[in-house]
């Protein structure tokens, strides 16, 4: 398969996702109309009360005096030129707010994906190799415990132990706001702040991947092609690394792609415990404030992210398994 074919494939896939994203946007827009109360009420509530003139003024500014379908039409028309609207609560354009949160989100997700996949796959692999020994049981029990423990609790315990008791890590935030490091020192500082949130968020997914990898490895090892390979006299180590491992990885990669969407959701808790400035927290706040412009923007961005990640997953398939053809 040449690079041109891959390029054409990517373009076609992206075009196919347009109706999906459009559907997501329209559905979300209509769903949000069902929530009781509106932004004007919340703003007035936050202010501790406001005269009626003020609230009417707000509703007019937000365009809420227009019919829903007209509002939807305006929204879609603006979306075409990537104008996601204005967040009246935060007094800033939605796109700016989203972009500011995007890279902390990607940083946390990226490091989580990396840690949970590598550790999870490693643990699953070892458990499969040591199947039905005490080491396998140990790994499996650990995975179950990680899976069952609430994220916020893990986060708080990590803070209590490693931040307050030992003082190894900062309790929260993304960088030191007293020092305001620059250059390389800032990179180190952010990495330092990233450790605890990444570990916390990884725990859950790590368990998932470990269990899946173990099962997948055991299944692959019983298949005919492994017997054939053994009959050919290929060393056990080569069979595992070159054949079984690569095939066993496929379901894990699929899972990771699907989990990416939920990673956004799961990060709400971790972001709030560690005061990490990500998209999850922004979504949570804007929902309770009925800041629908901002919320729709977040949904739109998440939909785009999920679509892109799944495209990447499909391409990774090809690299892992030459039998899979794209197109």
């Amino acid at each position: 398969m040449g690079g041109a074919a891959l390029g054409r494939y990517i373009v076609r896939r992206l075009l196919q996702t347009l109706p999906v994203v459009l559907g997501v946007v329209i559905l979300n827009f209509l769903l949000l109309q069902l929530a009781p109360g509106d932004l004007a009420t919340v703003l007035a509530g936050e202010a501790g009360g406001a005269p009626k003139e003020y609230i009417d003024q707000l509703r007019q500014r937000f365009g809420q005096d227009q019919p829903v379908l007209v509002q939807l039409f305006h929204y879609l028309r603006n979306l075409v030129v990537l104008d996601l609207g204005y967040s009246f609560r935060q007094s800033a354009p939605v796109l700016d707010l989203l972009l500011a949160r995007l890279w902390p989100t990607l940083l946390l997700m990226g490091s989580t994906l990396l840690l949970s996949l590598s550790l999870g796959v490693g643990m699953g692999l070892l458990a499969a190799l040591w199947v039905r020994t005490w080491k396998d049981h140990l790994i499996s029990v650990a995975a179950i415990i990680f899976y069952a423990t609430p994220l916020f609790w893990i986060g708080l315990m990590l803070i209590l132990v490693f931040s307050i008791k030992f003082g190894w890590f900062p309790t929260s935030g993304m960088e030191d706001v007293v020092a305001f490091n620059v250059g390389f020192a800032r990179v180190v500082d952010i990495a330092h702040h990233l450790v605890l949130p990444t570990i916390t968020l990884s725990m859950f997914y790590l368990a998932l991947y470990a269990r899946l990898m173990r099962a997948s490895m055991l299944e692959q090892r019983g298949l005919d092609y492994v017997t054939t390979a053994r009959a050919k006299g290929i060393p056990e180590r080569t069979i595992v690394t070159r054949h079984v491992f690569r095939n066993a990885l496929l379901p894990v990669v699929t899972m990771a792609g699907i989990q990416f969407g939920s990673l956004l959701g799961g990060s709400v808790v971790v972001e709030s415990v560690f005061a990490w400035p990500g998209l999850g927290q922004l979504a949570y706040q804007s929902l309770f404030a009925r800041d629908f412009n901002l919320l729709l923007g977040i949904f739109f961005l998440s939909a785009c992210l999920v679509v892109i990640v799944n495209l990447v997953v499909d391409i990774v398939y090809v690299l892992l398994d030459p039998r899979i053809r794209i197109g």
Binding site: A35, V42, G45, P277, A289
Partner: protein
């Protein structure tokens, strides 16, 4: 002789206090404040959402400042005079004050701020400056407020938190409602806005050309936003953050923190805010249209139990709609005492008289009690109310919804029986108290006004008189009569004056030096 010595010592003490312990105050240091939740914007002239002021009061100055007795002190105004008829207020402004962008501050900025911004756009300013018909500027350092009627309450609302003075050359350009500087404030205050990273922090640096010589002492203030309550406690415990107030730390953690040698806890600095915990009753709905039922509920509530067990002792039983913080200014009054020892018998008797005898199962009637959706302690409060009502035979079901839905239910749909509630008295009863039960504040769709829909011509008249009465003693007398009448009718049950704990790292001094507390400007704060 002894008297002379004593007065000399007092004088010496007064002088020392006035000058301050100058030798101990060092320049430098970064103060990290925790504000919860993150402010939606930094535009205090258009939104009074609580967290905004905690940041912007350091950036903007007001014409006046206030002492702990709520008496005015001078801010951007060098002096002020109120005419005998109360309809003309003349402010002489300080010379040589500049905004953070270097441009000078003049009377034109005052005129612009009051007339074009606060009077028309500020949620509370619309009421505060209702009587102001014009701000005249005969010269650059004089601003004369012309009023249609006397407005004594206005003089309590001129702090940098409540009525920030804006530069006309910045905010006068473009639409004030969607102004680009809404998130990058420019003022004359002791700290300059530098950066706001959403979800993380706001950074304010020392204004080196601040008009108060040698102030501020701190180099920098960083206001951090941490969504999780336990993490906020951890950051304070570890010394990563140095001050937090307004319930940012859960009450049960306050006790733990106060045991640390590095931390002090104070309940000072809320005198101009005066938060009250209340229960608002829908007086248009049977059986709550019956005054005896409302009084019975008022008697049934055990205020001491609620304060001690739900709010961990951070409160003081309320005796009416006006907080005891108004005692020094003479506006406080106590109403009917609902904490008498035989309150349960009285409640039972009132309910019998109202025509709700106990049925075979011991209950009289059922109701739904809505809970203010502001967090854990409000749910515990709801449970305490439920228990108290059960003791007099009222079976209450609890309902907890999110803020938007709750506000709509109480203030737009009036679809409720009784709800807990949380209101501020603010700087003056006209601003914070009247809204709770004046007939002109029964406004469908407007939040935190008269949700009980109760009013009476007598109480309306008392409030109208107190609004324009310039003499403090006469105002006080009007308010005492008002408080008695309102507590008798019990459209709202005043539970307690909430004493918010502020957690402060002991390295930092003079942070809370005004009745506005965290809404102060920290110009005098320093690090040891």
């Amino acid at each position: 002789m002894r008297a002379l010595t004593k007065s000399l010592i007092l004088m010496a003490a007064a002088i020392t206090m006035a000058c301050g312990p100058a030798h101990a105050q060092k320049s430098g240091g970064t103060l990290v404040q925790i504000t919860q939740p993150e402010p939606p914007n930094l535009a205090p002239y258009i939104s009074t959402s609580g967290p905004i002021g905690q940041v912007t009061a350091k950036v903007f100055d007001g014409l006046l400042e206030y002492d702990f007795d709520l008496k005015p002190k001078l801010g951007l105004a060098e002096s002020f005079t109120v005419s005998p008829d109360g309809k003309t207020v003349t402010f002489k402004l300080r010379r040589g004050v500049t905004f953070h962008d270097g441009k000078p501050f003049t009377s034109a900025d005052v005129q612009f701020t009051i007339m074009d911004v606060l009077k028309t756009n500020h949620p509370r300013g619309i009421a505060t400056f209702k009587e102001v018909t014009a701000v005249e500027t005969p010269d650059e350092t004089t601003a004369i407020f012309k009023l249609a009627n006397p407005a004594p309450y206005m003089m309590a609302a001129l702090s940098g938190y409540e009525s920030p003075i804006l530069p006309k050359h910045v905010y006068g350009v473009g639409d004030i409602k969607t102004h680009p500087n809404a998130n990058a404030p420019v003022g004359t205050g002791p700290f300059k806005f530098v950066e706001w990273r959403r979800g993380e922090f706001v950074r304010l640096d020392r204004n080196t050309t601040y008009w108060r010589q040698g102030r501020p002492f701190l180099d920098r203030i960083v206001v951090r936003f941490i969504a999780d309550a336990s993490t906020r406690t951890a950051a304070l415990e570890k010394g990563e953050a140095h001050i937090a107030g307004f319930g940012a730390v859960p009450y049960n953690d306050v006790r733990k923190l106060s045991a640390l040698p590095s931390v002090e806890v104070t309940t000072k600095g809320y005198e101009m805010i005066s938060p009250l915990v209340e229960m608002v009753i829908n007086t248009k709905k049977a059986p709550f249209d019956n005054v005896k039922v409302r009084q019975a509920i008022n008697y049934a509530l055990d205020r001491k139990f609620v304060i001690d067990n739900v709010w961990f002792g951070f409160g003081k039983a309320a005796v009416g709609p006006i907080s005891s913080n108004f005692e020094p200014s003479g506006l406080f009054g106590a109403g009917v005492d609902f904490t008498v020892p035989d309150r349960i018998e009285r409640a039972n008797k009132l309910l019998d008289e109202a025509g709700f005898p106990r049925k075979a199962d011991g209950t009289r009637f059922e109701m739904v009690h809505d809970i203010t959706p502001y967090g854990e302690e409000w749910q515990r409060f709801g449970e305490a109310v439920q228990q108290a009502l059960a003791a007099v035979g009222i079976k209450a079901t609890l309902r907890y919804e999110d803020v938007a839905k709750w506000l709509k239910r109480i203030y737009t749909d009036y679809d409720y029986d009784m709800s807990s509630n949380f209101l501020y008295n603010l700087a003056d009863p006209v601003l914070g108290v009247h809204r709770g039960f004046h007939s002109d504040r029964i406004k469908k769709g407007t939040v935190f006004v008269n949700g009980s829909q109760w009013s009476s011509p007598e109480t309306d008249a008392l409030m109208d008189k107190a609004t324009t009465e310039a003499d403090a003693a006469k105002r006080g007398a009007l308010y005492r009569e008002l408080v008695t009448k309102v507590t008798e009718a019990s459209p709202v049950i005043y539970v307690h004056e909430l004493k918010f704990p502020t957690i402060i790292n002991k390295q930092y001094k003079n942070l809370i030096d005004s009745p506005l507390g965290i809404y102060g400007n920290y110009a005098n704060a320093y690090r040891e």
